[in-house]
Every structure is written in structure tokens, then in C-alpha cells.
Amino acid sequence: MDAALHQEQLTTGKKVWRRFCRNRLALAGLVVLVLFVLSAIFAPWLTDYDPNRNNLRDRNKPPSREHPLGTDDMGRDILARTLYGGRISLTVGLVAVGISMSIGLILGSLAGFFGGAVDTVIMRLADIFYSFPFLIVAITIAAIFGPSIYNTMVILGILSWPGPARLLRAEFLKLKTTDFVTAAEGIGASPARIMFRHVLPNALSPLLVSATLEVASAILSEAGLSFLGLGVPPPAPSWGNMLNRARPLHILANMPWMWLPPGTAIFVVVLAINFVGDGLRDAFDPRQDLS
């Protein structure tokens, strides 16, 4: 019985993976994403430059042999800053989504499982957060608490919990009436066991899709905040604050090597994540059956 169950799960996973691979854009997105993650992790091996070391003799240099992507107005190597910036931008995106998913997971499960007053309170709170003009509130809080990496992660995470909470609540309401949950209740399983053992695993696939797409928007939001000078503060490199530094019109007009690499990096990573998210959604969709 147990072995059969295990085998069944394995084939489901395989099916999803096979469906995912059929989507060429999703697969390409995954490859690009993996490359970006690897280049962020192995940044110190890919470049010899310290992303934060100023070199006043080599300021504003166009791409050359020593500096493949040129240098910025402080003489810092743009390639190094883009690679290390990826570390920060990807980390902020992942941690922010980790925070919003954790809050959303807990509150959404509680609301969906217990219903009643708990549900009302949590969902009204979600309504309030949903009515926030997101970026404007993020800017307000970031400016008032002062720009820092940690503040950026926490602000983006706390502001985006209602999405996953609503999703999970809906899944809970749907699954609560299924036979296997009734059966578990019948044999006397505790609420916690039903929640974590029976319902949650079945609600994970839509949550995974939404988490993937949330990472893309968190990276965009971080870049937006940093672009306005309210996200990751210099000298630490992030793709957004590199763009911020290149905003003066003379840099924009004459030194495109300073802003093209970080801008392209954000664009390509977000595009890749969106392709992966879209592919995952299709792959998890049972209507897309593959024989």
C-alpha cells in the first residue's frame, strides 16, 4: 500500500516535469535562471575585482580587456558589480517572498481551516493590505525607516502576504469538503495533523506557482525602490541602485555601459522567472493531460 502510494507520487512528479519540459520557453527560462543563480554564487571566481573598491584612476572607462563591461564613475568594475549585484537582488527577492509566503501560509491556513471569526478578522486584514497602493506605501516605509537591505526584504515581504493567504484559504475551503479529509476527521486526527499532513501538501502546487511569480515581482520592486534610492543603499551593489547611479543625463547619454548591464540583468531574470512560473502553472494543471 505504502509503496504503491510512493510510486504514484513519483509518477505525478515525473508527469509534471515532462509537461514542464514540453514548454520550450519555460525550459529556456529555467536554464537562464540557473545560470544567473550560479553566476551570483560563484561571483568571486568569475571576476578578480572587488565590486566595492574605488579606483580613481580608472573612472568612467568604456569596456576594455581589463574591464569587460567598463567601469563606473568611481572606477569600480561593472561586471563585478553586476555579478555581486545579482547576489543581492536575488537574495532580496527570495527572502522577501519567503517572508510573505510564511505569513500568508500561516494566516491563510488558519482562516481557511477554522473559518468563522478567525477567518473574518484575517481576511478583513488582508483586504486592508490589498487596498494599499503597494509601491507608494513601500516607498513611504522605506524612506522613514531608512534604506537598508533588511528593511527592503521585510517591507516587501510584509506588504505582499495577502496574495498567498487568499490563495491558501481558497484551497483549504476546497479541500476541507473532500472525502479524505472527512475520513481523517473520522478516525480522530487532530486539527493540526489534518492541516499539515492532509490539506497543506495538496495545496502546495498553486502556492509554488504563485511563489515563483512573486519572486519576479519582488525583484522588480526591490530594483524599483533601489532605483529611487530607497532600497539597497550604496556602496553595496544591487541592480536597481546601479541604475540609480547612472541616471544623470550625461551618463545616460554617453556611458551606456553603466546602465545597460544591470537593466538587462533585471529584465532577463524577471522574464526567465515569468516563463518558469507560467510553465509550472501549465505543468501542474491536471487538465493538461499527457498520455
Binding site: S131, F134, I136, G146, A216, L271
Partner: protein
């Protein structure tokens, strides 16, 4: 219908806006530092002056008193006075900046719907054609490219290299306000802000049309010999456009939020640039005023979307 609208406003809108204002005020005031912090750096300034200034701005009172004072004034349609030295009414500041932001947002909504709907329809009609794939890919690009990067690219190409459009701003002093002038100043910012909407609307339009295109009543229309053009544009499109109406309500928050960044790139004199200035100065009344303004606009947008949905689709009844 009226009952539904009233219920939305009084049971949902007002509590949500109250909750929002309370949370925002709380977060703003518990944050370290205050609007008078910069005075501490001034040499030879007696600390009594700082205390006096604090009392003048009402900052010496506990949070809840400050909040209730603010709320009491707002209920009488008074947003208070700005904290900066000119101490102008916040409502006046907002009124000055509002038209520019509304113009920019409307222009990008018009672009988003005006371009997104036709390409979405064509994409669905010629499903799986090269054009369809190109539009699908473009839609992904449109939602993935950060507005500030797209804005910088456009500035670089059109304003700095080709020199055909202004590099931001909105009518210099004494400049004649011609239609061509409006277009030239609006084009880049509204395209930057509207790109995501074009992409989003095109995607939804395509999906929505594909959903109805295979339904029975369309098969009937085809069976009685209607030309495909009429089937699509007369019978299918009407139903397919309905979900797009609700999309407007969902997209309004994104458009206003996006406006903040776009205004900053193109030096557009709207609420967004006022907001950034206000948060940097910790100008509480202005921050609260602008944030509430946006929250109200977003709420109204969602109601308008619901109502237009009900008006357009007789199957929908709100009771």
C-alpha cells in the same frame, strides 16, 4: 444595485480605509527619528526651540491623540498643513499635482486598452500563427521589463540620441500649450507606464476571446452561415470583452504605483514626485494625504469596475 454600491462603500470601503490610515500613521510615527531630527544638527540651537517646534507641529502628543486629531480633520475634509516652512494646506499641494498624475495615468490606460485589445483579438483569431507567438512573447517582455529600465532606454534613444522628444518635464514656463506639445511630453512617460498594461490587456483579451470562441452559440452562428468576421467581432467579442472590464479595476493600483517611478524618471510634476519629496522630508501630513488619496482612488476604481461589469453583463446581479 444601489444597495450593493452603498454596502461596498460603507461596509467595506470605509473600514478598509480607516484601517489603512491607522496602520500607516502608526508605522510612520513609531519609526525612529522625526521631522525635527535635522534641527538637532544645527549648532547653537537651544533644545527648547526644538521642543517648541515639536509642539507647533503637534508632535509632542502621544500617537493616538495625533492620529485622532488628524482623522477628525480629514472627516471635515481638511488634510492639514504641510510641515515644511511654507506650511501650505496639503489639499492645495495635492490639487496642484493631481492633474499631471491623472493625465499620465489616463494616457497610459488609453494606450494599454487601445493597443492591448486589438492585438489580443488578432492574436486569438490567428491562434498558433507566427503573429500569435510574437504577441505572446511580447506580452511576457512587457510584464517583465522594469519600467525604469524601459524608460531609460526610451530617454536614451528618443531624447538623447535622436533628439526628437523632450527628456522629461512638462511644459516649460511660457511655452505655448499646443496639442503637439502635450503629445511630445506625454508620449514617453505614458508609453513607459502603459507598456505593462498593453501586455496584460493583450494577454487577457486573447485568453478571454479563445474561451468564448468555441462555445455553442458561436457554433450556431457559424452553422447558419455567418462569415467568420461577423462571428468574431459581433458575437464573440461582446462576451469576451466583459472580463477585460474588471481588469481595469485590478490594474489601477499598478498604474498609480508605477506612476511614482515614471514621474521620477521623466521629471513629471505629479503626485509621485511630491510623494518622494515628502517621504524624504518626513512631511507626515503630505505623506498621509497622498497615500490616502491613492488608496481612495484605487478603491473607487474597483467599484467602477464592478459597476461597469454589472451594467455590461445582464447575467450579473449584485444583491
Amino acid at each position: 444595485m444601489w444597495r450593493y454600491i452603498m454596502r461596498r462603500i460603507f461596509l467595506q470601503g470605509i473600514p478598509v480605509l480607516l484601517g489603512f490610515s491607522f496602520l500607516l500613521y502608526l508605522v510612520i510615527t513609531i519609526a525612529p527619528g522625526s521631522p525635527v531630527t535635522h534641527l538637532r544638527g544645527v549648532p547653537n540651537l537651544d533644545s527648547s526651540v526644538i521642543e517648541q517646534r515639536k509642539a507647533q507641529l503637534g508632535l509632542d502628543q502621544p500617537f493616538i491623540v495625533q492620529y485622532l486629531n488628524w482623522l477628525g480633520r480629514v472627516l471635515r475634509f481638511d488634510l492639514g498643513l504641510s510641515f515644511d516652512s511654507a506650511r501650505r494646506p496639503v489639499a492645495d499641494l495635492i490639487k496642484e499635482r493631481m492633474p499631471a498624475t491623472i493625465t499620465l495615468s489616463l494616457a497610459s490606460i488609453v494606450l494599454g486598452w487601445g493597443i492591448g485589445i486589438p492585438i489580443g483579438i488578432l492574436s486569438a483569431r490567428y491562434q498558433y500563427s507566427v503573429f500569435d507567438y510574437a504577441i505572446t512573447f511580447f506580452a511576457f517582455v512587457g510584464i517583465s521589463i522594469p519600467s525604469f529600465f524601459f524608460g531609460l532606454i526610451q530617454l536614451y534613444v528618443f531624447a538623447l540620441k535622436l533628439n526628437v522628444l523632450p527628456a522629461g518635464g512638462f511644459f516649460m514656463a511660457g511655452e505655448a500649450r499646443t496639442l503637439a506639445g502635450y503629445v511630445s511630453y506625454l508620449l514617453l512617460p505614458s508609453l513607459t507606464l502603459g507598456l505593462a498594461s498593453i501586455a496584460g490587456v493583450a494577454r487577457y483579451m486573447r485568453a478571454s476571446l479563445l474561451e468564448v470562441i468555441n462555445q455553442d452559440y458561436l457554433r450556431t452562428a457559424r452553422a447558419k452561415g455567418l462569415p467568420e468576421r461577423l462571428v468574431v467581432y459581433k458575437h464573440a467579442l461582446r462576451n469576451a470583452l466583459l472580463p477585460i472590464l474588471t481588469l481595469l479595476g485590478f490594474m489601477i493600483p499598478g498604474i498609480f504605483s508605477g506612476a511614482v517611478i515614471v514621474e521620477s524618471i521623466f521629471a513629471w510634476p505629479g503626485l509621485g514626485s511630491l510623494a518622494i519629496q515628502a517621504v524624504n522630508e518626513r512631511n507626515y501630513p503630505v505623506i498621509m494625504g497622498i497615500d490616502m488619496m491613492f488608496a481612495v482612488l484605487i478603491f473607487l476604481g474597483s467599484i467602477v469596475a464592478d459597476i461597469s461589469y454589472a451594467l455590461a453583463d445582464p447575467r450579473i446581479r449584485y444583491e
